[in-house]
Amino acid sequence: MIQAAQLTDVCFSYGKQEILVNVNASFDDSKFTVIIGKNGSGKSTLLRVIAGLLIPGNGLIHFFGKNLRDLSLSERAKTFGYLGQKHKAVFPFRVWQVVLTGRAGYVNYLPGKNDMEIAHKSLERMKILHLKDRNYSELSGGEQQLVMIARVLAQEPKILLLDEPSTHLDFSNQIRLMELLKSLTHENLAIVAVMHDPNLAFWFGDAFWFMRNKTLEQPGSDLKPWSADYLRTIYEQEFNTIPFEGKAMITPLMKKGLTQ
């Protein structure tokens, strides 16, 4: 089966400092894959390498069987949509104008009617059509996030690469976003998201990878990803687990005296 994305022996260093060493992983199509790990473990860097923003020192990256290196920029835009963490708005563009720029890979010089329609549809899918004419820079952090995701969707990619998509969102919006993303996977979209909240990940994700020792790993067949034993190795901390919906919820180990 052709994977949506496949990493083979990927290595990356910033100068002398090694960040990623021999990363091997594969991500399934139409599935919601989540990458979890401690802060500073290199998750964002990994995603940037996958998205082609950083060039790995070694290793291969394949999307649907094609080598990333062989894809031109516009082909890449049509294959995967990458959304990073920070975005600074400098111009007061309207929301629809921002989303329209996602079509850059398809447009020669000026976007046509078709591009406008796809941008429109993106807004609909993200359920933010009512924000269409608003000034992007005046939106809340969460609303802006939704707009940027809509923008990435306008690329009509086959796989989304999202770096911490739920930051800046309040709790209920986080849930809503995850539901939305999950529904997108039912429409033949693969999603690879880096997340820091394991619970949110486990509630909605289909497949899980963990960042440890500068590489990606999955727990062996004997351990579940949501088990306290496994998570101890990842976070180097003790947890409690509560069974939930076939998986489990992670809670802190409440020490005596903490709740008094």
Partner: protein, 338 residues
């Protein structure tokens, strides 16, 4: 709200034509007064073979040989500077940027002084070449591993500007009063000697630069969002920046070579356009060209007629343009986020 902007845009589209017509009628010489000009057209349109009185000839000569090329030149220069300024502000994502940020004006001024002092090159050519050279130096100084950081580009621009300004001062210092006066005159900016020759020498690079910037106007929207965003949606940020930079430099260097330094024009007009029409470059570029051209033309008309001697256009631009800009600043959203 969107529709009345569209109406405003429509007005702007048609504005140049009447302004050009009116500009043909304005000027300092008494022979070409309004009545005489009407007389002239009357003559022209009547098919009988009249005695070509010298007055008619003079008026014809003034209208077509003196005023028309100057009008067209002023329009093109204004349009070129505004369009370049808009493109550069998008590429640099910085509101303080104008076509002069990379040392273009200092390089061109030095080039002109050099030509005026030594007389080996024609002034226009020298100004144009040194303007390009300054930008090239700024650019290569900021180039690191095939990547351009905006900050280093602006920094090197400042340094290169300083170098050429120092050289300019040196040339001025070593020149006799005659040449010094010519140099100072040139730097202040003027359309005194506009003619068909001057227009034809500068028009090609200006039109080429403007054309490319127009072509890329939607892509400027993408670039303006950020490098990562641009790249991930399928546009190569560095390549786009180079193209836009080159086009803007070509157009503005040609503009500066014929008009001298018209301060802050490429900074003010794009801001005004953005304040009124928003940041979308698809419409914004065309507005920049039309408004930039018309506005400079009006300013040149004023400089031609108001006083017996001609006030340098760079001075008038600042005196008229700046307060107007400040007025807009107070009234509306600056069109930029901090």
């Amino acid at each position: 709200m969107v529709t009345d902007k569209r109406n405003l845009a429509g007005v702007v589209y048609f504005l140049p034509v009447p302004v050009i017509m009116l500009s043909l009628l304005t000027g300092p010489s008494d022979t070409a007064s309004i009545q005489n000009i009407i007389h002239y057209f009357y003559h022209y349109l009547k098919p009988e073979v009249h005695n070509e009185s010298s007055e008619i000839l003079t008026i014809g000569s003034i209208l077509w040989d003196v005023r028309l090329p100057r009008i067209l030149l002023a329009f093109m220069v204004g349009g070129a500077l505004s369009v370049s300024g808009s493109g550069l502000q998008a590429v640099f994502r910085n509101p303080l940027v104008s076509p002069y940020v990379l040392g273009l004006s200092s390089g061109a001024a030095f080039g002109a002084a050099f030509a005026l002092a030594l007389g080996i090159l024609p002034v226009q050519v020298s100004a144009f070449l040194f303007g390009l050279l300054a930008v090239l130096i700024s650019y290569s100084a900021a180039l690191k591993h095939q990547n351009i950081s905006i900050v280093s580009l602006i920094l090197s621009g400042v340094i290169v500007s300083g170098i050429f300004t120092a050289l300019l001062t040196l040339v001025q210092f070593l020149s006799d009063p005659f040449r010094l006066q010519s140099i100072v005159h040139w730097t202040m900016g003027n359309f005194h000697h506009a003619g068909w020759n001057m227009l034809s020498s500068a028009i090609l690079p200006m039109v080429a630069g403007i054309f490319i910037l127009m072509l890329y106007r939607w892509r400027l929207n993408v670039i303006a969002l950020g490098d990562d965003e641009a790249r991930s949606s399928g546009i190569h940020p560095v390549r786009e920046k180079i193209i836009i930079l080159a086009a803007a430099t070509l157009a503005s260097s040609a503009a500066v070579s014929v008009a001298g330094i018209i301060g802050l024009y490429g900074l003010i007009i794009p801001h005004m356009v953005r304040m009124v029409f928003g940041p979308d470059h698809r419409r914004g570029m065309m507005m920049n060209f039309l408004i930039g051209g018309t506005f400079l033309l009006i300013i040149d008309d004023i400089s031609r007629t108001v006083a017996g001697f001609e006030i340098p256009i760079g001075v008038i631009t600042m005196l008229i343009g700046a307060p107007f800009f400040l007025f807009l600043l107070k009234k509306s959203n600056i069109g930029w986020e901090q």
